[in-house]
């Protein structure tokens, strides 16, 4: 069986220890790096499936590392941040990170995020050639060629904006997309004034694809950050 490889970049020994113990219980392979320079080296030589990156490293800004890694690789990056300021997360996500965890996080939460990232990393590798005209996620199916979306085999009627929104989320399944990113992709602008409209369209879209919009299964809201399509 293939054991996924995980690169853990963290300078605090206690947290490193906690993550190592957790990964051991799940029988993942892992490698740890203590600083940014080491992390960049390992990212190349170790060829990890997922990188877990602490934003507060002693030698380098975490966002800088993400940019560098994104220069050659699309490996999923989960950032861990002690700062609860949303802007840091948004910056990291805009730089190309996939997901984030805020300290203190629970082990369950950590493992859940890790699984999402690994699945994404796998589909990226396997489904690359089939980056085709069809998208399937649970009961949700999108026919890009026809410009139609289906839920449980039934076509759902979407407005052009809702459809665009759904496509942007689907193409980045598993990844947290920031408000700015979505606005840019769908509307072509990134004005903060457009955020209310984004919320409204997201709510109408949800009503059409979620069975219970108050407990969404497909589109997850990240308060102050953005949205994410979840792989079922």
């Amino acid at each position: 069986m293939y054991k996924p490889k995980i690169l853990v970049v963290e300078d605090d020994p206690a947290i490193t220890n906690l993550i190592r113990t957790t990964l051991d219980t799940q029988e993942y392979q892992y490698h740890t790096a203590k600083n940014g320079a080491g992390a960049l080296l390992d990212a190349v030589s170790y060829n990890p499936d997922v990188i877990i990156l602490d934003l507060g490293l002693p030698d380098m800004d975490g966002v800088e590392i993400i940019r560098k890694v994104r220069g050659w690789s699309s490996v999923p990056i989960i950032i861990v941040s002690a700062r609860s300021e949303d802007q840091d997360k948004v910056d990291a996500l805009d730089a190309g990170a996939d997901d984030y965890l805020t300290k203190p996080f629970s082990i369950d939460e950590f493992l859940a995020r890790l699984r999402v990232a690994l699945r994404r990393s796998r589909t990226d590798q396997t489904a690359e050639p089939a980056q085709s005209s069809l998208y399937q996620n649970g009961e949700l199916r999108i026919d890009y060629a026809a410009g139609c979306a289906y839920m449980g085999g039934k076509e759902i009627h979407l407005t052009p904006i809702e459809y665009k929104l759904l496509c942007v989320l689907a193409k980045n399944t598993g990844k947290v997309l920031t408000h700015n990113y979505i606005l840019k992709e769908v509307w072509g602008t990134a004005l903060a004034a457009d955020i209310p409209s984004l919320r409204v369209f997201m709510a109408t879209l949800r009503k059409k694809i979620e069975r219970d919009p108050s407990a969404p299964r497909y589109i997850q809201t990240h308060i102050g950050v953005g949205y994410r399509m979840i792989r079922q």
Partner: protein, 893 residues
């Protein structure tokens, strides 16, 4: 100027003014300079830093010998019309900053090109800069004694100092010598050269003269002493009793009246006001007369008078009104020798005044110069330019009157009616045109055309009836008179409307300035008001914290041009104004070469701003504009100061509040953090060491305890972070439109684990409901309230989250059906560090810090919402808060 800018260090408040010591003599040669130099030597011997700033060169040799051993400041050489003049180098003195500076001849007038036109102004600046000054002055140089001395010696002295500077001196040392000794000294050539001496002896230094001068000097010294004593005792009480009023005019004799009034004010220790009644005539003053009026006004100001201006046609009425309102007890007037004109009330001003005021003493000062006669308005040529339009109007009116008269004539109406019609024409002309000229013209034309068209024989200028010439004359006089009356009425209306406009301007500027949001805005509003008053661009700059002036200009359209003229030199003048709190620049006697007039805008304590009024390319300001401008700037200064003080006070209050909060927080944290930390470290320690001896159940219990305590700490940390964000004010709220449903979802995923035992429901009236909020903080609010509900209600209770639109707000309610909260507790629930003691919750319940709800309140209020608590039916509590509603208009669907 450069020197001056280099040492531009302004320290308000902490500044000690320098002391002024005056060596006062009754004539030249009494030994003032000698006494001053001796005093300087004594001071130097005591270790005080003494520097000689300026000593007159014609001083006698034995006096000059005393200069030996004293540091001397090099004099400033000023080239003036080919002559090099020596002056005190003010900038050098300011830079040298000795303890005491010696400046001879206080009454000296500086050469053109110096900063101030008078030496006493230099001295004032030195004093303001904290340098003490020794100086000399003779009795005849005192402004108020000038006339008196001149009447004794028959020599007019042009160099004078205002009495205020003499009276405010910290020390006056009278240098006295017997007149006989002085004459002896003079004869031996110690004061003047031999030739000069004999002339002086014959003219000036007669024994009688000297005795008289000596008496005046002695008395003045005594006055200065008693005045100082009284000032120290009670400044206001001294002024309360009497109030002397004098009137300003352009007459040459007015100066004498003002001086007399000033002397009286001094003798009575009374208040002193100089009143200027602006009449249509004074408004038209030109050239020499205007200059004289300004000089007189300046004189009054120097003599300590408050200048007031009133407006009206009749000075008597205005003076009486003003005197009544401001509690004047004595009026000092010159005897007017205006010849009464034909249409004016013929009684002299004094009589009219006394008939209006029974309880005020009126003092008349005889006029010694009867040569001056003011030209009456009627005799002057009309100052208006000839206007074709007005001429046309006049001719048309005459024509119309003639036309109507023809009609009347044809109808057979009597001649009287025709005359009335012509009179009407004259009246209308007076009203519709400017000036007497057209009225008189129409009067004449009316008489002629009446004669031509309507008297027998008609269509000729002859008249048969001997009555006609009388009719013509009466008709002309009547029309002439009515015309002049109409013109007067019109002028008065214009005047009063102008006054109303000015008053309105003053009121509205006050109102507008009050509404200014920032200091910068207030001064900008003031500048705009000035601009509309004076009809020219205005420069303004706040005196900022770093004592810098950054000028702006209104109106924006001329800003570039106006700012372009603001050279480094001009800025230097402005900075001088800011530092010395005196007006300077064009039209003043300080730094008068500047293009602009700079005025300080001051509050009660310090200069708040500086305003620049371009003067070089604009007509001079009239008194009225000047007064109004100063009134407006004073108002502005007070408003600025009030605003500043309020801001400072608020900042101080906020700081103390924050300090208090920090202290309380620290105390509470250090106390309450220990409990969970003890539990965590204790449990973990046990598990490390005694792991083997503990059974699995026990271990599980300890794991759970560690987890619970750390989660409690996590929640506490979140709250503390939010508090620092809210209370610090450094991090602004990150407000965005958020879906209420998302917020509920997020909050519920973070509530206490024990919530599993409770039934939590969400009821949304509209699932698209959005509010404007900082999501993280509002999530914290909901978590805190829900956690409280979980904590203080029994297991299995219902908790319901709901939200609905309420006008422009969203109301969020979190209701439980627990035991409810007592009314007493409700009152204090949102106070910081308030916790409810619930006996029922048992030993495992952890007391909170009492931060949660007070934080909720701060957060909600920072969102301009409000938070309340009320009872649920049938039991339980409802926490309810509001947030601003966000409504979205979707455009590009």
């Amino acid at each position: 100027m450069e020197n001056y800018q280099a040492q531009n260090q302004y320290r308000p408040g902490a500044f000690q003014k320098g002391h002024l010591k005056i060596f006062f003599g009754y004539a030249a040669g009494v030994g003032k300079t000698y006494a001053m130099l001796e005093a300087a030597h004594q001071a130097q011997n005591r270790g005080i830093d003494v520097v000689v700033g300026y000593i007159e060169r014609h001083t006698r040799p034995d006096t000059l010998a005393l200069l030996e051993g004293l540091e001397q400041l090099p004099e400033k050489i000023v080239e003036y019309k080919g002559i090099s003049l020596k002056e005190l180098d003010l900038d050098a003195a300011l830079q040298r900053r000795p303890n005491i500076l010696l400046v001879d001849e206080l009454a000296h007038s500086n050469a053109a090109g110096c900063r101030h036109s008078k030496r006493y102004q230099d001295v004032e600046e030195l004093l303001r800069a904290g340098i003490s000054v020794y100086t000399t002055v003779n009795v005849q140089h005192l402004e108020s004694l000038n006339d008196l001395v001149a009447s004794i010696t028959h020599i007019a002295v042009s160099e004078r100092i205002p009495d205020s500077i003499f009276d405010s001196a910290d020390q006056v040392e009278l240098v006295d010598i017997e007149p006989d000794d002085l004459i002896l000294r003079l004869q031996s050539g110690k004061v003047y050269q031999k030739q000069q001496a004999s002339r002086a002896l014959n003219h000036f230094f007669t024994r009688d003269n000297l005795a008289a001068l000596r008496e005046i000097a002695l008395r003045r010294t005594a006055d200065q002493l008693s005045k100082k004593a009284q000032k120290a005792e009670n400044e206001t009480a001294a002024k309360a009793g009497e109030h002397i009023l004098t009137c300003l005019s352009s007459a040459p004799s007015n100066a004498k009246v003002i001086r007399t009034a000033a002397r009286m004010a001094e003798a009575f220790h009374s208040g002193f006001t100089a009143l200027f009644v602006e009449t249509p005539e004074t408004r038209d003053l030109k050239g020499e007369n205007l200059k004289r009026l300004r000089d007189n006004m300046r004189l009054a100001e120097q003599l300590g008078a408050r200048i007031a201006t009133v407006y009206g046609d009749d000075p008597a009425v205005q003076i009486a009104e003003y005197a009544k309102v401001s509690g004047v007890t004595k009026i000092v007037l010159g005897r007017t020798n205006h010849s009464a004109s034909l249409f004016m009330k013929s009684k002299p001003l004094v009589d009219r005044l006394t008939s209006r005021m029974e309880d005020v003493d009126v003092y008349i000062i005889p006029d010694v110069q009867p040569l001056y006669k003011k030209k009456r308005a009627l005799l002057r040529k009309p100052e208006q330019k000839f206007d074709w339009k007005d001429l046309g109007k006049s001719l048309l009116l005459t024509l119309a009157a003639t036309g109507i008269s023809f009609l009347f004539y044809e109808l057979g109406l009597r001649e009287a009616n025709i005359i009335i019609v012509y009179l009407l024409g004259v009246l209308l002309t007076a009203v519709w045109t400017n000036g007497y000229f057209y009225g008189i013209l129409v009067s004449l034309l009316s008489v002629v055309s009446f004669n031509f068209f309507f008297t027998v024989p008609r269509f000729s200028l002859r008249a048969f009836d001997p009555n006609y010439p009388v009719t013509f004359l009466v008709m002309f006089l009547a029309s002439f008179l009515s015309c002049s009356l109409a013109t007067r009425v019109k002028r008065q209306a214009k005047q009063s409307s102008q006054r109303a406009y000015y008053m309105e301007l003053l009121m509205s500027s006050n109102q507008k300035m009050q509404q200014g949001q920032s200091e910068q805005e207030i001064i900008r509003i003031a500048a705009q008001q000035l601009q509309s008053l004076l009809g020219r661009p205005v420069l303004y700059a706040l005196l900022e914290k770093d004592r810098q002036l950054r000028f702006h200009a209104v109106p924006a359209s001329e800003s570039e041009q106006t700012m372009g003229r603001l050279t480094a030199e001009e800025l230097g003048v402005a900075e001088w104004v800011a530092k010395n709190d005196k007006h300077a620049g064009a039209t003043t006697s300080t730094l008068s070469h500047a293009q602009n007039l700079y005025l300080s805008v001051r509050g009660n304590q310090e200069v708040m701003a500086v305003v620049g009024i371009p003067s070089k390319f604009y007509p001079p300001l009239d008194t009225f504009e000047k007064n109004l401008m100063i009134a407006m700037l004073d108002e502005c200064g007070l408003i600025l100061e009030r605003r500043k003080l309020r801001a400072e006070k608020q900042a101080a209050e906020m700081e103390t509040q924050r300090e208090q909060l920090r202290a309380n927080l620290l105390r509470a944290i250090s106390h309450d953090l220990r409990t969970p930390l003890t539990a965590i470290s204790g449990n973990a320690g046990m598990l490390m060491e005694k792991s083997v001896s503990l059974n699995e159940n026990r271990k599980q219990e300890m794991y759970r305890s560690i987890y619970d305590d750390s989660m409690w700490l996590v929640n506490l940390t979140e709250n503390l972070l939010s508090i620092t964000r809210i209370e610090n004010g450094t991090l602004p709220l990150r407000r965005d439109a958020e879906m209420i449903g998302d917020i509920f979802h997020e909050a519920l995923s973070h509530v206490d684990r024990r919530a599993a035992e409770h039934e939590i429901r969400v009821e949304l009236e509209d699932d698209m409901l959005m509010a404007n909020m900082d999501a993280r903080l509002i999530v914290q609010v909901i978590i805190n309230i829900v956690n409280n509900a979980v904590k203080y209600t029994p297991e299995g209770s219902d908790i319901c989250l709901s939200a609905k639109k309420e006008n422009s707000m969203v109301r969020i309610e979190i209701a439980d059906n627990g035991p409810g909260i007592s009314d007493e507790a409700k009152q204090r629930l949102f106070d910081m560090f308030y916790t409810v003691n619930t006996g029922s919750a048992g030993a495992d319940s952890r007391r909170g810090l009492g931060l949660g709800l007070s934080l909720c309140k701060s957060i909600v209020e920072a969102h301009s919402g409000s938070i309340t608590v009320h009872d649920n039916q049938p039991h339980g509590s409802v926490f309810s808060f509001t947030l601003p509603l966000e409504e979205v208009k979707i455009q590009n669907v």
